[in-house]
């Protein structure tokens, strides 16, 4: 209570020292070589930024912990204080500087145009993709990463917006290029080196000389932490450790010297030739048993999510269905509004809002209602862990669908059933729970099984927030190993198995017959009508 007030007055750096943990926001499905799940242990990340953070942590004397989320949401992870900093190929731009503070740069990238090798004659250089020798403009269709600096560079070179296709991850543009949906990809050189550099079908043209910097992001005004980070980074630059790290990931370029990174490769030894130390090569190693095992482990989260969230959703659906059928408007209307709003908005948006806005709401409440904050630290109380948010949002969302399902079930129970129950002296409540709901539930069981099935698949959406489930791990591994389609098919096989298992389970449930046992209790599910 008093101590929470003091803690609030302390800087983030002090908090980190007290906790012993520095939390950094990063997107493991964004792809190599920045950050990705390891095949052996999907919960453990690898990538050059992951290793950079480990070095920083060692310098600061704290453990570092990745907080994972969708790339576009990483800034929100930072702002909602779920992470202390964000690091994931963020280019230093003026727009971003309005929102966050930047660390010193840790990498210099260039914009790298890539074409199909077969187009070598057609496009000998970057200029030929903009206009031909006779002076007419061409501006071939180009693919790039959503929200990246390359979009601004392309606009600067005169590309019309409608010819620029943006994708959510760094690998897809190259897939599109190979599929001939576009003729050109412009991306950060580091991404191009990893994905296109090793692909004989693709050809990297000369970089555009539009250098930019990657830097870590901090909350505005969080100066002590930013300065401590910068000092640690400066030591790594000077010692040659950073250069060695970049060589290991095959992303070293001469440009790096311009931000003060000292290369002592000659002194440390030629690390590039050591197979074990080759991070890039290691992350590309692919073996099916390892992938299947990694996906199986990721399945556990999917199963736990569904097994916990679905019963909650059905329970909520039943309560909402009863409320919607109530003759009291004050009960019926809120339920109807809830169902309409939740069914009418995307699950993705709901997840995002709950996950990122709750801590902000806590911060606001703590500032505006100090008396409440004296009783409980509101912000930390509202900063629910990602898994809890995932369960609550999934249950809340499916609860709305189940409400309609269960309402239909209740509507389908003949009125005589209620009259017969009341005639025996049952209360309205007993009639509802003992007679009407069990019958309604049985009638709509197929629809509920359907919902269960779609929840298994919709649970993949929770990777937007930091829950590593099947889909996120599959994408991460697929991109790191350059085997996205194959790994996705493997993931689909897992989904199919889960879905079939759910069907079998549900059918058993439907067949269970409500016979009284020796103690006189009886279940209310009876053998399905044959």
């Amino acid at each position: 209570m008093v101590c929470s007030a003091i803690a609030a007055a302390q800087s983030t750096l002090d908090d980190i020292r007290t906790r012993g943990v520095l939390r950094y926001a990063i997107d493991p499905s964004g792809g190599a070589p920045f950050a990705m799940p390891t095949v052996e242990e999907p919960d453990v990340l690898t990538g050059f930024e992951v290793e950079l953070m480990q070095l920083i942590g060692a310098e600061l004397g704290v453990r570092v912990e990745p907080i994972t989320g969708d790339w576009l949401a990483l800034v929100d992870l930072l702002k909602s204080e779920r992470a202390d900093l964000a690091i994931n190929g963020f280019e230093v731009t003026e727009e971003r500087a309005l929102e966050v503070d930047f660390s010193a740069p840790y990498y210099v990238y260039d914009q790298q145009p890539t074409i199909r090798s077969s187009d070598r004659a057609r496009f000998p250089d970057f200029a030929s993709t903009r206009g031909n020798s006779s002076g007419t403009s061409v501006f071939v269709p180009v693919a790039t990463l959503n929200g990246a600096a390359s979009v601004d560079v392309l606009l600067e070179f005169g590309w019309p917006r409608e010819r620029i296709q943006e994708y959510d991850d760094g690998l897809l543009p190259y897939t599109e290029l190979k599929a001939k949906r576009v003729d050109l990809v412009v991306q950060d050189s580091i991404v191009a080196a990893y994905y296109a550099g090793s692909d004989a079908e693709l050809l990297n043209l000369a970089p555009l000389g539009k250098q930019g910097h990657y830097a870590a992001l901090f909350r505005k005004g969080d100066n002590t932490l930013r300065e401590a980070f910068d000092q640690a980074l400066a030591r790594l630059k000077a010692s040659g450790e950073l250069a060695a790290l970049y060589r290991r990931w095959k992303i070293w370029t001469q440009d790096q010297a311009s931000i003060g990174i000292v290369d002592r490769a000659e002194i440390v030894g030629n690390t590039e030739t050591t197979a074990n130390a080759d991070g890039a090569a290691a992350s590309r190693a692919f073996s099916w048993p390892a992938v299947f095992w990694a996906l199986a482990k990721a399945c556990v989260n999917t199963i736990v999510l569904t097994v916990v969230a679905m019963p909650l959703a059905v329970a909520l659906g039943v309560v909402l269905a009863i409320a919607m059928r109530s003759q009291f408007r004050r009960i019926a209307w809120p339920a109807r509004v809830y169902v309409a709003v939740v069914r009418g908005t995307p699950l993705l948006v709901q997840l995002y809002l709950v996950y990122y806005s709750l801590p902000a709401l806590g911060l606001w409440l703590a500032g505006h209602v100090p008396s409440l904050d004296a009783i409980v630290n509101i912000q930390s109380a509202l900063t629910w862990p990602a898994f809890l948010v995932a369960i609550v949002v999934l249950a809340g969302n499916y609860g709305a669908y189940e409400a309609e399902v269960q309402r239909a079930g209740l509507d389908a129970v003949p009125g005589g059933q209620r009259r017969a129950a009341l005639a025996l002296g049952l209360s309205h409540r007993a009639s509802l729970w003992r007679i009407e709901l069990p019958q309604g539930f049985r009638t709509v069981l197929p629809a509920t099984i359907n919902d269960l099935n779609s929840m298994i698949k919709d649970s993949s959406l929770v990777s937007l927030i930091a829950v590593p489930e099947l889909m996120q791990v599959a994408l991460g591994i697929g991109k790191a190993t350059l085997m996205v389609p194959a790994v996705l098919v493997a993931a689909a096989a897992y989904y199919l198995v889960l879905s079939l298992a759910a069907d079998v389970f549900a059918r058993r449930l439907a067949r269970a017959r409500g016979l009284r046992d020796s103690t006189g209790r009886f279940a209310h599910l009876e053998r399905a009508t044959r």
């Binding site: 025996l424 002296g425 016979l515 009508t529």
Partner: protein, 255 residues
């Protein structure tokens, strides 16, 4: 005959929401250990009257009493208070109603159907409720079906279970709505025999709505003739069947 009144209705008026009058001032008394048959043409309001007596319908006017206690029937335009709800529930639990269409609970076994009333209507312990259910099923000859699903039973067996379900509450009065109408001739005879048997058991007070005049003549002490929501005649059975009243004669001739 004991003259103590078990169940009585006074000046019952009921209209459907569409304005149609279904009961137009019905007054009726059922004495202890009496068996009353209610007869009348289709749609004259017999089933509705039983529902009113059982405490299932709201009314526009009139009252129903069980052993002199008002049943707190809901008025159509007023919501019942908590106290009224409780009185009404107690009334329902003490009046046994067997529906024309049975309305058995299809998701429950025979035994569970019969335990519902004792357990959740009367609030008895499960073991006591099970004992009541078994006793009631024994009276209708269905005790061996305790663990069967009601959906597996024939129509006649379902009618027996429906009667047992009402009897399990040990009601003060049993209201039977057309106990033989949905059955084939063979089952009609069997259920008829069961109703006669129940009627002959000295403690049973019973109201039977029926089109089966033979059954009415056999079991009833008194016949109530209902026409267009009004009690047209209320006579001892012998007098009813020997009546010279034109309306009764016409009804008997067509039935």
């Amino acid at each position: 005959m004991n003259e103590r009144v078990v169940l009585s209705a006074e000046g019952i008026v009921k209209r459907w929401p569409n304005g149609r009058v279904v009961l137009d001032g019905v007054t009726l008394s059922i004495m202890e250990r009496e068996v009353v048959a209610i007869v009348g043409a289709n749609g004259c309001g017999k089933s509705t009257l039983l529902s009113v007596l059982a405490g299932l319908e709201s009314v526009h006017a009139g009252s129903v009493r069980l052993r002199g206690q008002p049943a707190a029937l809901p008025n159509v335009d007023a919501r019942a208070s908590r106290q009224e709800e409780r009185v009404l529930r107690a009334h329902r639990a003490r009046v046994g109603l067997v529906f024309q269409q049975y309305h058995l609970f299809p998701h429950l076994t025979v035994g569970a159907n019969c335990m519902m009333g004792p357990q959740y209507g009367l609030g008895l312990h499960v073991s006591e409720a099970a004992a009541r259910a078994r006793a009631a099923l024994l009276r209708v000859g269905m005790h061996e079906a305790f663990d069967r699903a009601v959906t597996e039973l024939s129509g006649g067996q379902q009618q027996r279970v429906a009667i047992a379900r009402a009897l399990a509450n040990t009601p003060e009065v049993l209201l039977l709505d057309e106990p033989t109408s949905a059955l084939d001739p063979q089952r009609t005879r069997e259920i008829g025999a069961l109703v006669r048997e129940l009627a002959s058991e000295s403690a049973t007070t019973m109201v039977v709505v029926t089109h089966d005049l033979e059954l009415a003549r056999d079991v009833a002490d008194r016949v109530v003739f209902l026409d267009a929501g009004r009690v047209e005649a209320e006579l001892p059975t012998e007098q009813f069947f020997g009546s010279q009243d034109a309306a009764i004669r016409e009804f008997l001739a067509h039935a």
